[in-house]
Assembly symmetry: C2
Homo-oligomer: 430 residues x 2
């Protein structure tokens, strides 16, 4: 246990600072090479990389429509129903977010409109690794589906002679995704940004990934005009604020559910009761013993911190400074203190709202800003699949009214032709 | 005049491709050095750079509150009124965009909420150069003001013994901006991202600038955790779609008002009438003769293209492919064809809606995506000064209902501790 007010300033700062995750020049050079390969050779580059990196020999990149259609036959009814239920909640909450155009006559004869356009073609990356991640498909796929994007490409890695897990295919099917690419890493990100024979070119790529994927997204968004990416990615994080009224077993379970994500997970508890922190520590030891990913969780817990604070108000201040991806509030009157929250990706309120509820099924999105980006970046939401633009229509009389603002400003800025485009109209023209 | 359907594919592609604007490694190395200087020396670095780059010796970086308060006394009443009128229109249109929280009980006992938080501290950069740009202050400052950001910093360059133009100070005053920094270039961008003695650290920097400013924004957003920037910047662009019902003098004036921005401006006319294009060409020559910035405009017009298309429908298709920053529609029934527009930053509809109306005063924002980014990026809008996050509150019964979705998904993803955080709650806990 650490006591916040007894730490010197440097130790305090260190606790709220994330470990550096700079990818290094080696990753950049490797990814630049991969992008160039894909640019020149298209599909062929992806096949070669599959052989080289994933020990995979395959003559196809795309899953067939039949495989997608039949995916649910390979699922237990429990898992199928779980995906259905999660899909329904996520869809309902994101449907709320569908944007509406807004129009205003700012002055007589001057009508301005704010409009929305779905991004035409989007790519969704679902990382592989130790387990399939159908929830990642739902979180991104529901948004793409609701936006009405014309082209949606899902890419996910497979190794050796694996197939994509049917839970991923079924989640994709629920979201009407029919372009599914069996390929991962920087190569398939480049394929989506540039287009190949089998992979349609998309306008924006979403989804987390390793250092190579992140670097590819960054480099391509800087070099392919119009190509965009979702948000900077970093290790997952949770911050729990608890008081003596909370349940230490629940708090421990929440800390561990973050810790099992990866050895680099960031896990913090802020609490104003020393005895509660001691109980949480004991619970962590007890619960860790039976976890299948105990090794990973243990490593993450070594970097974690259980911190005694002076007051819950101080906990809110420190949380705002840290800007956690997930913030769990297990405190008395949690509901009435939500407005104290700042700089969090998603907030979990009360004893019966574990992070895993939002990770899978409550309806909120689990793609959230990490690494302190929750000070400025939004949680993934439907607007990330749209763009906003404006339209104005002005009558001749409207332009005459407006000229009193335009002409002196254009003159002050030394832009004659700007003034002339107005003057020629209000003075007659041809 | 170019005839689209007579061009080969390569020539067509070239017309819709922007010239490369890669900053080059030299700029990156220089900017990295500048950032390091500011990190180490703070204000002192800015003073040294002012001397070195701007031939300026000054012992202050901040404009006094008195100077801001008295700025309007130095303005003509025409210019003051013009700023007031533009401010009112821009404010009214952006006020429409204030976000509202949304709440939904996705299933019994599971309440999800989408909330908004203003970004705390924002920086606004207004480039200098040949003229003061009060309109740039208004476009960004109104958003910051409406968002309720706690700290708003305005930075703009001054050379030699210049002072900031009172029109800029007055526009800032209208937007309640009282931190105004007399400093430009990559140095002041670094100062805003990192903080110095005189320049408060901000979370997000907005505004266009030269290659050094753009590079600084890019590098800092990748290296300072949580620090964000607005959008990629590029040369300004206009695309005019006109038919024979339009007025060639108006079309020419609009093309020229874009061309005078800079020699790298992109100017395109798409029209289905050869005789109309001829008339526009004659008008351009006539109007160019009397422009004060004729040299710049002439250079830009050399790279421009007046293109004869087969039909107005084809013009809309080409425009969608190009993705112009500004799109002007001078065609019959323009109003009823707005829905054909895709990938434009701001649209100007009808004979009496010149681009300069939106540049200054109609109410829409003039900070728009260029360089093809209008396929994916939004025009600057109030949401760029907010972030979105979510909150969920679940009852014990609600979690029991939700467990049917969470537990099978956590199991499929191999995440025991995620399942345990739910199981321990619905099975009792302490």
């Amino acid at each position: 246990m650490l006591v916040w007010n007894q730490l010197d300033q440097q130790a305090q700062l260190k606790l709220l600072t994330r470990p550096a995750v700079s990818a290094g020049a080696g990753v950049q050079i490797a990814v630049e090479g991969i992008i160039e390969e894909v640019r020149q050779k298209g599909d062929k580059a992806l096949f070669e990389m599959a052989e080289q990196f994933d020990n995979r020999q395959s003559d196809r990149l795309r899953v067939t429509e039949d495989e997608i259609a039949q995916s649910e036959l390979q699922l237990s009814s429990e898992l199928k129903n779980a995906i259905d239920q999660a899909y329904n909640n996520i869809r309902a909450f994101h449907e709320l977010q569908l944007p509406e155009s807004k129009m205003l006559e700012t002055q007589s004869g001057v009508v301005c409109e704010l409009k929305y356009q779905a991004i035409d073609a989007v790519g969704i990356y679902v990382p592989g690794g130790s387990a399939p991640l159908p929830s990642s498909v739902l979180m991104q796929g529901v948004c793409a589906q609701l936006s009405g994007a014309k082209t949606v490409v899902l890419a996910t890695p497979v190794k050796g002679d694996e197939r994509i897990h049917p839970a991923i295919l079924y989640a994709a099917k629920k979201c009407d995704i029919n372009i599914i690419v069996e390929s991962g890493g920087a190569g398939v990100i480049a394929a989506m940004a540039l287009g190949t024979e089998s992979v349609p070119k998309v306008d924006k790529v979403f989804g987390p990934g390793n250092a190579f994927v992140t670097m590819a997204k960054q480099l391509l968004s800087q070099s392919v005009p119009g190509f965009a990416i979702d948000m900077p990615a970093g290790p997952s994080e949770v911050l729990v604020i608890a008081d003596e009224h909370a349940n230490p077993a629940f708090a421990a379970a929440d800390l561990l559910s973050q810790a099992e994500h990866g050895a680099d997970s960031q896990v913090l508890l802020l609490c104003d009761s020393a005895s509660f922190i001691n109980e949480v520590e004991a619970e962590i030891t007890r619960q860790l013993a039976v976890l299948s990913r105990a090794d990973i969780a243990k490593k993450a817990m070594e970097n974690s911190a259980l911190i005694l604070v002076e007051s819950i108000e101080q906990a809110f201040e420190l949380s705002a400074e840290y800007g956690p991806e997930h913030l769990i509030l297990q405190i008395r009157d949690a509901q009435s203190r939500i407005d104290l929250v700042k700089n969090a990706g998603s907030v979990f309120v009360g004893d019966y709202t574990p992070e895993s509820a939002g990770d899978y099924a409550s309806g909120t999105n689990h793609v959230l800003p990490t690494y302190g980006y929750s000070k400025t970046y939004s949680s993934l939401n439907l607007m990330d699949f749209f763009r906003t633009y404006t339209v104005q229509s002005i009558t001749k009389q409207g332009l005459l009214n407006l000229s009193k603002a335009i002409l002196p400003l254009a003159e002050a800025e030394g832009l004659d032709a700007h003034a002339n485009a107005v003057a020629i109209r209000i003075n007659g023209g041809k």
